[in-house]
Amino acid sequence: METLITILSGVLVTVATYLILSKSVMRVILGTAILSHAAHLLIMTMGGLKTGSVPILGEGDSNVDALPQALILTSIVISFAVTAVSLVLAYRIYKETKTDDLYELRGFKDE
């Protein structure tokens, strides 16, 4: 199971990297969103999987590791905030410059 999820997150990282390397602002933002998915999966896997019950006291004898879950919860919220800001930024860039091509945005004079 761990190996499967690790390989899955590896695939996600590959896709995200490819998207980040592209020209369009939208693709780059999509890439960062996928990259955060991969990171969350990895944190989860590192804590060990399926070795206990839900981390609520009284639900079983041994609970799964709760610490990575808390970390991921924080991370989800932060990556959502970042995605939201970058989407609005992309919107604003497009409004000001009429392009979403990063190659054309080079050396823009308001830089």
Partner: protein
């Protein structure tokens, strides 16, 4: 030591005075008169120390600065430093007097005298410092104040260029000198030059000994305008003439020579030291005199002659250092006389060169030109100026009855002696010393004659001059006149100078030798020896060369004008700028993809390389949890969705596939016993999808990437490599768990925090600090989104300058 304190107090008061007077009442009295008090007082103070020095006493004064690092203001007054101190303050006083008449009150006098005093103070600091770090600080201060003085008329382009060149070259040398000092500190463990001198015998086999020597010499050579670093000196002639007279003939350019003299007891006696110092010196002597003959600008001519004379002094110190090669003996005493001659010529050069610069300044001031092709026939019109020029030039040419004759004879004695020396392979190459020295002296004679005859003899060219000629006001002539008196005075009473001033300095250069053996009796006439015959030869050949100058002028055309060190220097500067520009433009493209490529390549090479190098890529799947068919399906669907995003034709497809990924992860969270995560992930994914869809509405259509196939291939390769490295690292890490988790502690949630949900107690109690800041992140993001959508760029801000 009273002297140092007085110096500092006087200098500080003077600088304050400049500013006050200048602000309050700039026109009435020339502020130079107040400034004149400073060097004059210091000179008299220093003179009062001469008797003590002559009795072999030295004075030491320490003022703590950074005691924990052994860096303190340690001032050391001995024979060597007092010579320089006397030159600095004495000529400083004369130059100030001269500048009072030279600069009109319309000039920025406050600035001029502030820089000049700053220079004087730092120069005194250089020669009196015993601590190498403090010496370096003052050394750089002389570079900086010289830079400021060269560019005094900063409106002129040439002044700025000359200042920049002088700055770059001398600072380069200064930095390397600092490195040398640090190496010496590493060897000996002390910054004190006196202590290093007394202990150096223990360290001369150290690995850093030679590098330290070379680096310190580089500093000395750049400062003293030695070949091939002499190029800054002619360009520094754009400075006002008092500055050229003071800094660029009498004081600053002798700082390097002071350094060589000061470090002779440390490095002297080494073969490298001897060959570098005397070899570079003699080459500089020849090259400077060779170049001086062709100059048509009097100041440039004097600049090259300074270069040449500095080379002569430098080579004599090199020859003198041979004496330290063997222990004290009758023969080694012979070579110490070269160092004595160097000190003697140092004083002589300061006198006659200072006078010559001031005279050229007078000519420039009165005629508005200093081009020898436009000057001529001034002898009858400016008799006093003419007399002083004759004294200065003939002394420089080495003719009696001027002091230059004595030092030139002693120089010949030194080079003749060294050609008989039988170490350092001098038996084969030693003969070059007298030959080059004699040739250079002939050329020196030629340019000295050019100064006198081209300027003061021949036809008077009225039309080419800007002002009608008449003799200068006497005030301007006081300073050069005094120096000219010294030139003659030293010739008739050389031993007065030798016994009282130069002799104590010899003790500082050769501390291991018995003091009584170091006295040299200077006599104007030694009988008909080789040296005298060489002087006769110089006069005869020099006169012939001067008379037939137009016939052999062609020598200078043998090499094209372009083949100079100036061209090389400019070429290096140009290339540095061009290359750095090219290199920067090569990788700073302003394109996100390129920067991300560098980051990913670093990740692949560093992380992947470390993996291969340490061979940690071991996998084990035995400890894995079992996989059900349901999980297989989710994982496969997610992988397919991820890959499909790359091929999506429309944006909507891509967004939906991304949310498929998000919900897939939420499902995994359910399977992996993480209810809170599953909940949050579902909600957040929904909101994100809504956001993407909103952006879909505002952003342009998802265009097909118009990148080339090659770039796509590279991108694919990079992303596959990143994915592989990432996966391999993750797998390798899962394998080697070194210690168990600390999560057992959080199972006490009920007792410690009063909650059953462990994840929530972690977020709200155990690690609530994270949660607080995460809330702040959300808040900031909210403000960011609001301002991005609401605030409009103000048009008028675009007017700001780039």
């Amino acid at each position: 030591m009273v002297f140092v304190l007085t110096t500092i107090i006087i200098l500080c008061l003077a600088v304050a005075l400049i500013q006050l007077r200048h602000k309050r009442n700039p026109t009435t009295v020339h502020i130079g008169w107040f400034i004149l008090l400073v060097p004059a007082t210091l000179f008299i103070l220093l003179t009062s120390y001469i008797p003590q020095m002559a009795n072999g006493k030295t004075l030491l004064f320490t003022m703590n600065w950074i005691p924990s690092y052994d860096i303190n203001f340690t001032f050391y007054l001995d024979g060597l430093s007092i010579i320089f101190g006397l030159i600095i303050t004495g000529i400083g006083a004369l130059v100030t007097l001269y500048s009072i008449y030279y600069l009109s009150t319309n000039e920025a006098l406050g600035r001029f005298y502030t820089y000049l005093l700053m220079f004087m103070a730092s120069m005194l600091g250089v020669v009196f410092s015993d601590n190498m770090m403090v010496l370096y600080v003052f050394w750089e201060l002389t570079s900086i104040s010289s830079f400021l003085l060269i560019a005094f008329w900063y409106q002129r382009k040439k002044s700025r260029q000359g200042a920049q060149k002088a700055m770059l070259i001398t600072i380069t040398g200064g930095m390397s000198m600092l490195a040398g000092f640090l190496m010496l500190y590493g060897i000996s463990g002390t910054f004190s030059i006196r202590e290093i001198v007394s202990e150096i015998a223990l360290y001369s086999d150290h690995d850093l000994f030679l590098p330290a020597m070379l680096l310190i010499l580089l500093g000395a050579f750049t400062k003293s305008a030695q070949f091939p670093f002499h190029i800054w000196l002619p360009d520094a002639m754009e400075a006002p003439t008092p500055v050229s007279a003071y800094l660029h003939s009498a004081t600053m350019v002798k700082a390097g020579i002071y350094l060589v003299a000061r470090f002779t007891p440390v490095f002297g006696g080494e073969e490298t030291w001897f060959w570098l110092v005397s070899g570079v010196g003699i080459v500089t002597l020849f090259w400077g005199s060779f170049q001086a003959v062709r100059q048509t600008d009097l100041k440039a001519l004097l600049a090259y002659s300074t270069v040449s004379q500095l080379g002569m002094i430098m080579s004599m110190f090199g020859i003198g250092s041979v004496a330290l090669h063997t222990d004290y003996s009758g023969e080694s005493v012979l070579y110490t006389q070269a160092a004595f001659a160097a000190l003697f010529h140092l004083v002589n050069h300061s006198t006659f060169k200072g006078a010559l610069f001031m005279v050229v300044g007078i000519i420039d001031h009165r005629m508005g030109t200093r081009d020898i092709r436009r000057l001529g026939g001034l002898m009858a019109l400016m008799p006093v100026t003419f007399t002083i020029t004759c004294i200065g030039s003939f002394s420089m040419a080495g003719l009696p009855p001027f002091n230059g004759f004595l030092s030139k004879e002693m120089f010949f004695t030194a080079v003749l002696n060294i050609s008989h020396f039988d170490v350092f392979s001098l038996e084969t190459w030693g003969i070059l010393f007298p030959v080059i020295a004699w040739t250079a002296s002939v050329l020196t004679f030629v340019y000295c004659m050019i100064i006198v005859f081209k300027t003061f003899f021949g036809p008077y060219q009225m039309k080419k001059l800007e002002h009608p000629v008449h003799e200068t006001p006497s005030g301007m002539l006081i300073a050069p006149g005094t120096l000219a008196l010294f030139v003659i005075g030293i010739f008739f009473f050389p031993n007065l100078l030798g016994d009282y001033v130069l002799h104590p300095a010899m003790n500082s250069i050769f501390p291991t030798f018995p003091s009584s053996e170091l006295t040299v009796h200077i006599a104007a006439f030694h009988g008909f020896n080789t040296e005298l015959l060489m002087t006769f030869g110089i006069v005869i050949v020099g006169t012939l060369l001067y008379v037939f100058f137009r016939y052999w002028k062609g020598v200078y055309k043998l090499f094209p004008e372009k083949w100079s060190f100036n061209t090389l220097y400019n070429f290096i500067l140009d290339q540095l700028e061009k290359t750095s520009n090219t290199v920067t433009n090569l990788y700073m493209t302003g394109y996100l993809r390129d920067y991300m490529t560098y980051i990913y390549l670093f990740f692949i090479i560093a992380t992947g390389g470390a993996l291969i190098y340490t061979k940690t890529f071991l996998f084990e799947i035995t400890g894995n949890a079992p996989i059900t068919i349901f999980e297989w399906i989710i994982a496969m669907v997610m992988m397919a969705a991820a890959i499909a995003i790359l091929f999506a034709h429309s944006r909507l497809t891509a967004i939906l596939l991304n949310s498929a990924l998000g919900y897939g992860i939420a499902m995994f969270f359910v399977i992996l016993r993480a209810p809170d995560l599953a909940l949050t992930q579902t909600v957040i994914e929904t909101v994100t999808t809504v956001l993407f869809l909103a952006a879909y509405y505002f952003l342009p259509e998802w265009k097909k990437e118009n990148t080339t196939r090659k770039i796509k291939g590279i991108n694919l390769l990079i992303s596959v490599c990143v994915g592989i490295v990432f996966t391999v690292v993750a797998l390798a890490v899962q394998n080697g768990k070194l210690f168990g988790a600390i999560s057992g502690f959080y199972e006490n949630a009920k007792e410690l925090a009063g909650g059953k949900n462990i994840v929530n107690t972690i977020l709200g109690d155990f690690r609530a600090f994270d949660t607080m800041l995460e809330v702040v992140v959300l808040l900031i993001a909210g403000i960011g989104v609001y301002s991005f959508t609401k605030l409009k760029a103000k048009k008028e801000e675009k007017q700001l300058e780039d």
